[in-house]
């Protein structure tokens, strides 16, 4: 029998579950292979050389061997640990939010290097802005991520012309639906349960997310009302394509609520 073929890859660890006595079943997103699920043999023993190299939200260079059922991790070495991000609970939770979405949108044997890079870029910005309440409450890195997740997945919403009548959108309030693929003018009213209002300033932010890099986008001053509209719009659109709710959302919202100073009237 020929020896098992091995390959090397660069991956972001998304999560893992225990398998058997001491193994881990690791879910990761690789630059060149898309989503990969592989076994870390003995990885739960503290003496394993894999221990500490398979934690979620870590970028790892690894060697894998093709197995009969599942690939096996033979070597793993951390190249980016995001150690500072991992000192902050809210930042960790945001990272887990990204991991849940990459797990949901990423497909096995379907590489998407743009998605790989997007997650790394967003983790970097979350790390750099951690603990700054004004920026962390508006969650712009997450909004940037959601917008570009749709883009790299080929689900980019239309922002310039009405998706029904193709008229160029006037600078005005409009409506939006993931179901029809983006923005609608006020004259077009298809029968669509996902239809929702879209303010002009939210539309402007979406267009800006389209044109600008993450660092620039995350510097945008966004008040609480606009932040809420963008969150509701983008995370609902992502959940629509995901076909289920984003589970990390409820804990993230809870952290935001608990970190808000109490107001005495």
């Amino acid at each position: 029998m020929a020896p098992p073929r091995t390959y090397r890859c660069e991956a972001i660890i998304l999560g893992y579950t225990p398998l058997g006595e001491a193994d881990l079943l690791v879910t990761m997103y690789t630059r060149d292979q898309g989503k990969v699920r592989a076994v870390g043999k003995g990885a739960r023993r503290s003496s394993s050389k894999l221990v500490g190299h398979l934690e979620p939200l870590t970028v790892v260079k690894m060697s894998l061997a093709h197995g009969r059922n599942m690939d096996v991790i033979s070597q793993a070495e951390v190249t980016q640990s995001f150690a500072e991000l991992k000192e902050d609970l809210t930042a960790i939770t945001k990272g887990q939010y990204l991991a849940e979405l990459v797990d949901g949108f990423g497909a096995e044997a379907n590489p998407n290097p743009g998605l790989f890079q997007l997650m790394i870029d967003c983790l970097r910005v979350i790390e750099a802005t951690k603990g700054r309440e004004s920026e962390s409450a508006s969650d712009m890195p997450l909004r940037f991520f959601e917008f570009h997740l749709l883009q790299v997945s080929g689900l980019m919403p239309e922002l310039y012309n009405c998706v029904e009548c193709r008229q160029e959108l006037e600078p005005d309030a409009h409506r939006f639906s993931p179901n029809v693929g983006g923005t609608l003018c006020l004259d077009c009213s298809p029968d669509d349960a996902h239809l929702r209002p879209l303010s002009l300033r939210a539309l402007k932010v979406l267009r800006l997310l389209d044109r600008s890099g993450i660092v620039e986008a995350c510097k945008l001053p966004v008040d609480a009302g606009l932040a809420d509209e963008l969150k509701s719009l983008l995370s609902n659109t992502v959940a629509y394509w995901l076909g289920k709710e984003i589970r990390s959302n409820s804990f993230l919202e809870r952290l935001h609520k608990e970190s808000q100073p109490e107001v005495y009237i």
């Binding site: 221990v51 979620p56 640990s81 960790i92 939770t93 990390s248 809870r254």
Partner: protein, 204 residues
């Protein structure tokens, strides 16, 4: 796994295989092997197994104090007057209590969370025994809480949540030292562990 996977198997056997297959770490092949093993057992051994499963479900309860699994609440540790009541060690699950007890170095009390905060899996503070922990922290005799969750991302995040939300003033909150495992090697140690091991270096 369904009956079609085992051609010719009796429905009762297929059902047993199916139930065993649901256990963690048991794949379809192992489930079949175990099922045939159980069939070949003497009657009384097989009934003893079934009875053990039934009675564990009927008699095991959460300890009203530490939330560990026990036959009678409070559990033997909480009921033991020789245990040090000024310290609570917070662990993820009941097996961690056994591991700590094996060291014979810790004489305080425990609190079992029954998991860690795992937002992606829909596990938040309300799904764990965190409220019960915060209630216990109000006891005036308590001087220290040792947060002994696993040094994994989710274990650390859970420790941070507990640290951030416990409101008791004057309570010493500690966690276990992070460092090199016995039998490990520097070469294969990840940088986070190595950094912490270096920060925690001691005189020799």
């Amino acid at each position: 796994m369904t009956q079609e996977n085992i051609p010719g198997a009796a429905p009762s056997l297929a059902r047993l295989v199916q139930e065993l297959n649901r256990l963690p770490g048991i794949g379809p092949k192992s489930a079949q092997r175990l099922a045939y093993y159980i069939i070949r057992l003497p009657d009384e051994d097989a009934y003893a197994l079934a009875d053990a499963v039934t009675s564990v479900k009927q008699s095991i309860v959460f300890c009203e104090e530490c939330q560990n699994l026990t036959d009678a609440s409070p559990c033997p540790v909480c009921a033991d007057p020789r245990r040090d009541r000024t310290t609570i060690c917070v662990v993820e699950d009941p097996l961690d209590v056994l591991a700590m007890e094996r060291t014979r170095t810790y004489r305080g009390l425990y609190h079992v969370l029954h998991g860690v905060i795992s937002p992606m899996n829909g596990v938040g503070p309300d799904q764990l025994k965190i409220k019960e922990l915060f209630n216990r922290l109000e006891r005036p005799e308590l001087a220290e809480m040792v947060v002994a969750t696993n040094p994994t991302l989710e274990g650390e995040a859970t420790a941070m949540y507990i640290r951030r939300h416990q409101g008791r003033e004057g309570l010493r909150v500690t966690h276990l030292a992070r460092g090199l495992p016995v039998g490990g090697s520097l070469e294969y140690t990840d940088e986070t562990t190595l950094t912490r091991a270096f920060q925690g270096r001691q005189e020799i």
